[in-house]
């Protein structure tokens, strides 16, 4: 991506992007907890997660990570196609 930034500006951008990545990870993590908890935990007759609930959560995490990866790939493809399209139209 040719953004026309100087070396110093590039470094500044990198620092900011790193911070942003951390924030994004926390956000993904948060959504994951919300989603898996909501999907898997419904029984409050006990304060410990049951075996069923733990298994469900574990499978939920694995599946969510797979989903995230797959959608990331699709998104990159679609984004690239859209950008190329826009470039052509200019």
């Amino acid at each position: 991506m040719d953004t026309g930034l100087t070396a110093a500006e590039s470094r500044e951008l990198d620092t900011r992007l790193q911070k942003r990545q951390v924030k994004e990870f926390m956000s993904v993590f948060g959504n994951l907890v919300d989603n898996c908890f909501n999907s898997c935990v419904d029984d409050f007759t006990s304060k410990a997660l049951s075996g069923r609930e733990s298994g469900c959560i574990s499978r939920c995490v694995t599946k969510s990570m797979t989903t995230q990866t797959r959608l990331g790939e699709r998104f990159a493809e679609l984004n690239a196609a859209a950008s190329a399209d826009m470039m052509q139209k200019r």
């Binding site: 942003r20 994004e24 999907s39 499978r59 797979t66």
Partner: protein
């Protein structure tokens, strides 16, 4: 040095340039995050009986991503069009 003859638009400052790139990436990242949320809700079975993504779910996710993108573009275009119309209609 180029003389544009427009009365000289001020060059964006260093901070503005960096902020602009960061902002663009932020918009893209947000869109990605929304897509994941929406397509997971629509395509992934919430009982989580299996850790592996089923073939049907995977195909659904692919299609959902493509449709989401298209919907995003369509809505964006329509908003611009209608916004322009209303802007002109409601102008002084």
């Amino acid at each position: 040095m180029s003389f544009l003859g427009f009365g000289g638009r001020p060059q964006p400052s260093s901070a503005e340039k960096v902020a602009a790139v960061e902002n663009e990436l932020k918009v893209v990242a947000e869109m990605h995050s929304r897509m994941v949320k929406v397509c997971t809700a629509k395509c992934v079975d919430r009982t989580y009986r299996e850790a592996d993504l089923a073939k049907g779910e995977a195909v659904c996710l692919d299609r959902c991503a493509a449709k989401f993108f298209e919907a995003h573009q369509t809505i964006s275009e329509q908003l611009q069009k209608e916004g322009a119309q209303r802007g002109l209609g409601g102008g002084m």
